[in-house]
């Protein structure tokens, strides 16, 4: 194993896949410099033909990637901020997601749409989203939401090799997160949740940066409550089995997610547990998510996005 940080793990995954397969290329605004460091330096190794800086034109970036994917390439489009994916809604939600189905399986769209997501940087309503629900809601897309350097590298390599469109959300708050990864190549299959902490009293299902927040809370309250933390790692495909296995043991569930609460993924996951694991529940499911309002900037951000105290409060409530 070797020490790295989250953004370096992402860069390493891109580097290895660019090296392995000449059909892989990256395009997006300022990917040569790398706005968040995830693509920095790759142009020196692979050249500007494969690390393509584009103008500020999200529909063209997404369309070029998706179209080229149909025509034999494995492009990685960096949308910079996840919020900006809405600009390319037609390309991502209608074309990438639907075109295999719509055309009777005759065409595949092996594209990766990656974007920095999430709050904590006080950037406000149009630079802080983690629009997971929009993607998970859309049949045809896959969605990876890594919470550690290990997961980030392994999931991104799998994403690039997938014959389907994959949305890969890397969290801005995790970019400097340290962690260990193997020296040798590895991949993480989609649809396999990971138990990030074992426990016996309550199951916390958390994604992306909320995994790290939940781990910190669990550590703080370990003398009172034994918390098990399950990280789905991919929301489509979604590993419900691992969650249900955990619920059988604990009987109590808190779902923690940074996307908006209303029609958010906490609602979806909660209902799937109700449908498939109701008999194992000893208490109503609690959920922690962003308030039903745009994400405020500056000092107001913490009043919209979930905070450790909200997670601790929900655990307390479900244990009561």
């Amino acid at each position: 194993m070797k020490q790295t940080i989250y953004l370096m793990a992402i860069r390493e995954a891109l580097d290895e896949e660019l090296q392995r397969d000449d059909k892989v290329f990256i395009l997006g605004e300022d990917v040569q410099q790398g706005t968040f460091g995830t693509t920095t330096g790759l142009v020196d190794k692979f050249g500007p033909e494969r690390i393509m800086d584009t103008p500020l034109a999200e529909t063209a970036v997404a369309g070029a990637a998706i179209g080229a994917a149909q025509a034999g390439f494995r492009p990685v489009a960096d949308m910079m901020f996840g919020d900006f994916m809405y600009i390319a809604g037609d390309e991502i939600m209608l074309k990438a997601a639907k075109w295999r189905f719509l055309h009777g399986g005759k065409v595949n769209v092996p594209v990766v749409i990656m974007a920095a997501v999430g709050g904590g940087m006080k950037l406000g309503a149009e630079h802080s989203m983690i629009p997971e629900a929009m993607i998970m809601h859309t049949p045809g897309l896959k969605l990876a939401v890594p919470s550690t350097p290990y997961d980030a590298k392994g999931l991104l390599k799998t994403a690039i090799r997938d014959d389907n469109p994959v949305v890969f959300f890397y969290h801005k708050g995790l970019l400097g997160l340290p962690g260990e990864i193997p020296e040798d190549e590895y991949l993480i299959p989609f649809g396999q949740a990971d138990v990030k902490r074992e426990g016996s009293d309550v199951t916390v299902v958390a994604t992306s940066a909320m995994v790290q927040q939940s781990l910190a809370v669990a550590e703080q309250i370990k003398d009172k409550v034994s918390v098990e933390i399950v990280d789905p790692r991919t929301l489509e495909p979604f590993d419900l089995d691992t969650i249900i296995e955990s619920v059988k043991k604990t009987g109590r569930v808190v779902i923690v997610d940074e996307d908006t609460k209303r029609c958010g993924i906490t609602a979806e996951i909660g209902m799937q547990i109700m449908e498939n694991g109701f008999d194992y529940l000893d208490a109503p499911i609690q959920r922690v998510a962003a308030a039903n309002m745009p994400i405020a900037a500056g000092f107001m951000e913490e009043h919209v996005l979930p905070q450790p105290k909200n997670i601790a409060g929900a655990i307390e409530a479900v244990m009561a």
Partner: protein, 325 residues
Amino acid sequence: MKLKNDDLIFMYKTMVRTRKLDEITIKGLQEGKVLAFYHSSQGSEALAVGAASFLRPDDYLWAHHRGHGIGYILAKGGSGRDFLAEHYGKATGSCLGVSGFHFADPENGALGAAGTIGSVFPMSLGWGLAAKKHGRQQVTIACFGDGGSNRGTLHEAFNLSSVWKLPIVWICDNNGMAQYTPITDAYAKDDIADLATGYDIPAVVVDGMDIIAVHEAVQAAVEKARAGEGPSMIEAKTKRFREHSIGSPDVVHNQPRTDEEIAEMKKLDPIITFKAKLLEQGVLTKADVEKINNDAEAEMAEMDQFCVDSQIPDPSILNTLVYAE
């Protein structure tokens, strides 16, 4: 390329087949065999066939939505039967009966058809980028209408196709009508081609009712693209003989188009004018013309029967189509 007599006959035949396929699709809609809707291409056959004839099979084609692409598809060697079966909702359709009216024939460069007008621009940009990266002198033919030209996506894709010198031939079917709205109320200038020159993309305006004029302009652009000289644009002024969507009102805004107006347009019918030319030049005889007509009718009757006899898709396929294994 210099057109030989056989080429001219191929183009004439393909226009006739396009019109007949259009007519049988309309009839199918009226008889309840066509399940979704249909946007007739009558009046724009010269553009479709002129543009898509004599391309390479591996050239990418984004057909114009009028006629759901039939003229382009047939000219490029695609299957009219797959097209019709798809419209009939049958398992033998080009998309297994799942799409209703979209067409895909990847082996023939048709990588799909969209439901959203103006999505041609970013997606064709991707096909053009792939064509350039493959390095096999492929071109991308990307068609849109005057309506589509109003989308902002045009700006992003025209701009990047020019900056990246992509082998794309942008073709505008300007029939002057976007559903019920005339172009005079949707665009401030006379020629959409002016949009291309603004991005340093060479552009020409051609008579879209003249198949030879269209073909020569498109071929010149194709040759430039194959030579690595970047994108071109061709604006073809065409006519829309039928209402926007079969069964919808035939209006300008909310005022009906007159019979006189339509009759005047039909004097320019590209099939009739091309036929007259070929007869006059002795490329075709009256007997040839009759045979081409009869053959096309027989082909359509056979297609119709095949599609009627085809099975409805098994719903168990649906789950297999959402994701590739």
